[in-house]
Symmetry: C2
Amino acid sequence: MSRTVLTREQVLEAADDLVRQHGPDALTMRGLAARLGTAVTSIYWHVGNRESLLDALVERTVEEMGAIQPTGRTPATRIVSVARRLRGELHARPHLIAMVHERGLTERVLLPAQRALVREAHTAGLRGARAAEAVRAVQFQVVGFVLVERARELAQDETPGRERPRKSASARKDPALARALARPADPERLFTASMRALVKSLLAQGST
Amino acid sequence: MSRTVLTREQVLEAADDLVRQHGPDALTMRGLAARLGTAVTSIYWHVGNRESLLDALVERTVEEMGAIQPTGRTPATRIVSVARRLRGELHARPHLIAMVHERGLTERVLLPAQRALVREAHTAGLRGARAAEAVRAVQFQVVGFVLVERARELAQDETPGRERPRKSASARKDPALARALARPADPERLFTASMRALVKSLLAQGST
DNA sequence: ACCTGAACACCGTTCAAGT
DNA sequence: ACCTGAACACCGTTCAAGT
């Protein structure tokens, strides 16, 4: 591609492209070198090794995500808005989620959102350890949800329709429920619903 | 090890040992063959390839987990008890979680617990789509939580103390909160607390 | 300071050949 | 039916040598 001297930035850029298009597994040092038109070993000079290259990629994307502004009137709706935005940001970068997760950088990604959440918990009347617990509960819920969602998407791609669930005794008693469980979940809806449920209970502790 | 003829069961057993002790990455076809004292290619004859070997391993462990009995008086406490037991089961098999997750078999692991959850939602007065949503919310919460926890543990092993969070404006106003957030979260406590919060709100919908 | 090819020590998988 | 060694096409990484 480029005729000029190779820079660390160019290596990162090309690696980022590769990961975005085909996932982290598609990023091989040899493939990357070929793409850049250099010897494999040049890449090692610029980024150390594969592991630290991926680290740099994650750091890059996390910075790019930036802060999150809450919207809405009540603390509850504002917290849910932060959660939804955070989910959206993570969803826009499907491969990033797995990489952050594997690297244990979850806390790092959550830091910008944490500030906003703390502020809202405070206005809702929560203090000290109780506020911290509420903030963390929301954070865990968001990341956990996105991870499960992602796994579900991958599963659909690779094994479409693995096994029909058998009808249980309680299913026969409530066919509407059985039908709802047979359908794949609508993640957007489910996320908002459980987030609202969680936040409602957490904030209720502030006023008692 | 064994002098007799090689069986599929022996291959699975040895593979299971390896994964349990050193994780899925440690499972190489060559290493496994060496451990069993056979040629690599014999293993291929018995289990197909590495991918289906891992699939078989997951299936095996999931069956081993079995059903989950709720305890407690009210539907809320019974649901929370199922959630806690499920978390415990998953936690007792650290490597399994990652494997199930990567393979998109989350739903499969959750099936036994789902029956119990449906029953409790029903006794709590939830019906149809609303009951399904509650059940799924709980399931997502459990798996998500465990995934986040696991990532956190891995992170601790590899990068102890990456970066101290700076003191924010709101942290200075509530030092107890700041201290609580600086400490690593107690997952057991946090899990139970947010599970209770979630379930409380979800079931409240049944009586309105 | 930056780039190179050759080489090392690994992988998973296939295949033709054995018994 | 079951097992084998050889070979293929990949990996990440190191190292001595170039400019």
